[in-house]
Assembly symmetry: C2
Homo-oligomer: 336 residues x 2
DNA sequence: TTGAAAGCGCTAACAG
DNA sequence: CTGTTAGCGCTTTCAA
């Protein structure tokens, strides 16, 4: 790429309008102490030249940019997209613009540095604050506000939004138990994540509450990804005493169960009832019963929280929970 | 928000490592002319301090940022999201990061300035080039490369990706005509947009080709939005001689037809066959037959094109078409 | 191999 | 009401 640097700048506008750069800057920033006709002239020139101020320069100099950053692991999975929709909605009702930052893939850089690097990049420069989705790293300390959505570990010092993972898992399990299921498989998530351990705990506690012994062979290790979940599901479904239901720790895992069942010629829900955490809207799996996390609501809530912090308004709670809800879509059947 | 400005900067690193800022900068940018142990020391300090350079400052000074911008009218509609997914995929395979910029709503600012302002903001500062989705404004002239996806008007001087609007509409119509439909309604799009006029032309030409007289009362004005399309569909469906099929100019229009039909107690596809342009993956409308635009493919292609331009690699064509395809999902029925 | 110094485009005092 | 000026954090000559 040719190193050009010929874009129109504030100096060009100033020269053309026969004023100083500071006067142009004043007009740009809506200061009132500018003569009406000077202002008009400058505005005209700005329009003629098609001038637009450089975000980089502006944010370097001033502290407020009116831009909110959203750092996401990717922008492809329904999980991320749902959250982004919610953020977008809240942004629409605010004077802020939205800047979404991603490498396109969680694994593109070492995930460790990756996130911190991003947040720092955005926050130290062009945004007034950022929202981090599924943050691996709670120990980010910055001057500008950060709110995290569904953080991997919960740190009460750190403003965040998360779902009721434990309660949601309980609810899903109790639904299956009420339907008469007793052998219920579980596809676990990444054990280092808070959400995953809470869901596992909910699974176990529900069984305990109903006096069902926990069979460790019914708990398969997953990692919230589909490919691994397919293997996990196949493992469980190959047991001599096959479970009549499976509770999957997230949407991708649930889809994995579907795929595994298909491969093994098992019918859903006739042979196997399935519930997944997170709401799955993908066309092929529309009938799946789910524990809805209301991800988009989490996104909007996070955005509104962040805006309050930016504006120095008081916050009721630094930690906010969005209640999960079981959405029954008829992929579960009564067992005996 | 308290105006703090205390984030760690290159100076802090320099002081801590006992070197000058320029040396740190050299290490940061991977220059080779730095003594091994100096470099190690600096790297260690950078790590300890958790330093990350300011995007704003960096991009202000240097010409290459390794960031690609994506300017979108919103990030909520499936249309935008599909394109973004494609862009994301291409980004993953590249050394670039992605910055998505949106106000959250097409109508938040006057659409006219809105887009140009964004492109300028991104391009004059923090990105190496931008992709514009559904650009209203072809006359953006900048130094840094711009590629547009599905531009509203086609300008051969301007690198862009678009679909085969005319051919796609023809194909949809011929499918309906082959099924025996003769009274076919059309929900039009915004007449100022190239895509809309091409689709309308395809509709008309298909009828001509089959020797069916064009009945203007079967063509309703829409604007690619659902609410207006509902009204448009109701108008057509209230005609004394009701059409047996409707071809809708985009996904939102098609959904509008569904909603209108539901309100009027018409069954789809028994009473009415429906085809929509754009691929609709929304759960309730999954059975809709569509002309798929392969939006995500448009996104990836645009990204790859932009990267080539940034890298000064030759381009085969400045204008690239992604061929549409009719996806039959059984919401159409034979007529007589 | 390193440091000093000059800006990148802009905003915000401070003068006038 | 307007202009002058001093940086924001960084990269990049140019010297040492």
């Amino acid at each position: 790429m040719q190193p050009k640097r010929s874009a129109i700048k504030i100096q060009d506008v100033a020269r053309e309008a026969g004023v100083s750069v500071s006067t142009v800057s004043r007009v740009l920033n809506g200061k009132v102490d500018v003569a009406k006709d000077t202002q008009d002239r400058i505005l005209t020139v700005i329009d003629e030249l098609g001038y637009s101020s450089s975000l980089a320069a502006r944010s370097m100099r001033s502290l407020r940019t009116n831009v909110i950053g959203l750092v996401m692991p990717d922008v492809e999975h329904p999980f991320s997209i749902e959250i982004m929709k919610g953020v977008n909605r809240a942004i629409t009702e605010s004077p802020f613009d939205l800047l979404v930052y991603t490498t396109g893939n969680v694994r593109k850089y070492a995930a460790a540095n990756h996130e911190r690097r991003f947040v720092a990049q955005l926050n130290n420069s062009i945004t007034d604050g950022v929202i981090i989705v599924a943050s691996a790293n709670a120990s980010i300390f910055l001057d500008k506000p950060v709110v995290s959505v569904d953080p991997h570990t919960i740190d009460p010092n750190y403003p965040s939004i998360y779902g009721t993972n434990y309660a949601g898992a309980m609810e899903a399990m109790e639904y299956l138990l009420e339907l008469g299921h007793r052998r219920i498989g579980f596809i676990a998530g990444r054990p280092e994540l808070e959400s995953a351990t809470q869901r596992l705990l909910g699974y176990k506690d529900a069984l305990k509450k109903w006096g069902v012994a926990i069979d460790e062979s019914l708990i398969a290790n997953g990692d919230f990804s589909m490919p691994v979940s397919i293997l996990a599901a196949k493992q469980i479904l190959s047991l001599l005493e096959r479970p009549s239901a499976i509770f999957a720790a997230n949407d991708q895992s649930a889809i994995g169960v579907f795929e595994a069942a298909r491969d093994m010629n098992l019918l859903i829900p006739e042979d196997l009832s399935v519930i997944g955490f997170d709401n799955i809207t993908e066309a092929n799996y529309i009938n799946l019963t789910t524990v809805d996390q209301f991800l988009s609501e989490m996104g909007s809530k996070a955005t509104r929280m962040l805006i309050k912090i930016i504006n120095d308004e008081p916050l009721e709670n630094r930690i906010h929970q969005i209640r999960t809800k079981l959405i029954v879509r008829g992929s579960c059947q009564r067992n005996n």
